[in-house]
């Protein structure tokens, strides 16, 4: 019988703490054949299991341009995520997927791209960012707009710094409402736009259509064409 709910087994190869209660795993499938054959598209998600507790949905936070492993970043909020947070390097967990929609990144070749994300919603967008950065020559100007409630809540802090330092990305430093003293420099992107960035990100997770109106409206005001906004 073809059991679509049966997960693949994967070993945790690396653990990184990103923010309070937010953690990233680098996962390698136990089956070597699967390591090579596994494919996904940027923006897709999977179900990650902590055996004995159940499974939770997270996006695949790594880019399909990086082969041999996948990454996920999750916030500890309940039963399953609490169980996952207790696992260590070398432990086995489950993954099934990929599922869901993806971003049509190849359609954007030659175009300028603005990425907007907030807080724990960066993981999905990160997959797109690295997909584009790994094939940088195919795309136009790249701007990354990202914010969180506090500096501590920013995820991928090292990568944010790296992106900020790259000359081929328009810098817009992470913005937090309190203008935390820890953040040197001031983002070039106006606060209201980043605020919309958070709304955008909430929409992405919940697929509740009315929230995206805020981001969309401000992008339209800035002259973006509705058909060129992807969520």
């Amino acid at each position: 019988m073809d059991n679509i709910y049966l997960p693949y087994l994967a070993k945790i190869e690396e653990i990184r703490d990103e923010a309070p209660d937010v953690r990233s795993f680098k996962l390698v499938f136990e089956d070597p054949a699967l390591r090579d054959s596994f494919e996904f598209k940027t923006g897709q998600f999977g179900l990650y299991s902590a055996f004995g507790l159940g499974e939770s949905t997270f996006c695949i936070a790594s880019s399909p341009t990086r082969k041999g492993y996948i990454q996920c970043t999750f916030r500890r909020t309940g039963r399953v995520t609490g169980g996952l947070a207790q696992l260590s390097v070398g432990d086995t967990m489950g993954f099934r997927g990929p599922y869901g929609n993806w971003f049509p990144v190849d359609d954007w070749k030659g175009k300028d791209i603005v990425f907007i994300a907030g807080g724990i919603c960066l993981p999905t967008v990160r997959s797109v960012i690295w997909n584009v950065l790994d094939r940088r020559q195919h795309f136009g100007n790249i701007t990354i707009v990202y914010g969180a409630r506090t500096v501590a809540d920013l995820v991928y802090k090292d990568e944010l710094k790296g992106w900020d330092e790259r000359s081929d990305i328009t810098p817009s430093r992470p913005w937090t409402p309190a203008r935390d003293p820890g953040m040197e420099g001031q983002g070039r992107v106006r606060a209201d736009r980043i605020g919309r960035g958070r709304a955008f990100c909430e929409e992405h997770g919940g697929r509740d259509l009315h929230i995206s109106k805020f981001v969309l409206n401000s992008l339209l005001k800035l002259g973006f064409d509705e058909g060129s906004v992807y969520t």
Binding site: M1, N3, Y5, S49, E202, D208, L209
Partner: protein, 350 residues
């Protein structure tokens, strides 16, 4: 509800090919069971008529309007094991389980609820094929019985169905004046079933009881409902709160509904071994859409109710070209706060 709606009676000519005498129902049950099949029929349990597996004709309820539960639970159980696992220090052992899909006869379903199968099938074969569902449905023969009575909650005719509808049924029965049935095979599966158990059936004419036909709910226009839902401007309409604020989010309506099919997957067991289960879930629960950030896009009950209504009258028809609501009225009968979906239909017909 308007009691006048109970008065409708239909006279129709049936094209039955066989008859089943009252005293032969037991033989049919025996015949199915002798071949290793399970016979599911409305039967009393805790003083309620519910679909359950029966062994004899004496157990089969008569005079019921509609079983309290939907027969979907024999195709998509409330809970089922999908995998087993064991854990030790260095590794995890994982084993998928085979679906338990016995040959099944669902007897005495109503024409409205049988119409839910199309939507369930489409969902469970959309993108990925869920064999836990499809294998069970493939092995199930659905025998509907045209209704000769109804209650205030029945509204099949408002959603373009009737006691004569045959969508989703394999065999269609009509009650006869001598408490038996006329029998008509509809699908290949149904005809084969009748041939297999041919000895149980008789031929010849029988006088059929008139069908009961609920009157349509006044001022409901399904096309208008669908149009109004398409434009998401209604999302923030205070009318949702006005109509549905009293909902206590118990989820009962979704569990008895023949078309609702949301589920969640969880593990049960110890730190060493256990099983993974697929369990019914409900969009009426507050944690259903709760985000990891703590934000909930459907924070208030009316928003969850809006989703349920959208699912039935917008998502299902648009995405699956199938009915999201078959008018069985179960959600109306079961609701502890008397929330009536037809009132919401009326509101969105304006």
């Amino acid at each position: 509800m308007n009691p006048a709606r109970l008065s409708g009676r239909m006279k129709t000519v049936s094209m039955a090919d066989r008859t089943l005498k009252k005293e032969d129902l037991g033989k049919l049950i025996d015949s199915v069971r002798a071949k290793g099949g399970r016979f599911v029929a409305p039967a009393l349990l805790a003083r309620q008529v519910v679909f359950r597996s029966v062994k004899s004709a004496e157990e089969v309820a008569t005079g019921y309007i509609l079983a309290r539960n939907s027969f979907k639970e024999f195709l998509f159980p409330q809970t089922e094991v999908i995998a087993e696992f064991s854990m030790n220090k260095d590794s995890v052992g994982l084993k998928g389980v085979e679906v338990d899909a016995p040959e099944t006869v669902v007897f005495g379903a109503r024409p409205c609820e049988a119409a839910s199968l199309k939507g369930l099938r489409t969902l469970f074969t959309w993108d990925f094929v869920d064999e836990f569902y499809t294998k069970r449905e493939d092995k199930t023969v659905v025998i509907t019985v045209g209704c000769t009575s109804g209650d205030e909650a029945c509204f099949c005719t408002t959603v373009d169905l009737s006691p004569e509808s045959t969508e989703g049924a394999d065999v269609y029965l009509r009650e006869t004046e001598d408490n038996g049935y006329t029998v008509k095979g509809l699908t290949e599966k149904g005809k084969k079933f009748l041939d297999t158990h041919d000895a149980v059936f008789t031929s010849g004419a029988a006088k059929e009881r008139p069908l009961f036909k609920p009157e349509t709910v006044p001022a409901v226009d399904l096309k208008r409902v669908s149009e109004r839902l398409k434009d998401r401007a209604h999302y923030d309409d205070p009318v949702w709160a006005k109509l549905t604020m009293k909902c206590i989010g118990c989820g009962a309506c979704t569990f008895v509904c023949p078309t609702c099919r949301c589920f969640d997957i969880t593990d049960e067991g110890t730190a060493f071994e256990g099983e993974r289960r697929k369990n019914w879930d409900s969009c009426q629960y507050d944690a259903f859409t709760l985000h990891a950030s703590g934000h909930n896009p459907r924070e208030h009950q009316p928003q969850r109710w809006r989703n349920r209504f959208m699912c039935k009258f917008n998502f299902y028809p648009e995405k699956f070209s199938s009915k999201g609501c078959v008018g069985c009225g179960r959600c109306i009968r079961v609701c502890p706060v008397r929330l009536d979906i037809t009132e919401v239909m009326q509101e969105f017909s304006k």
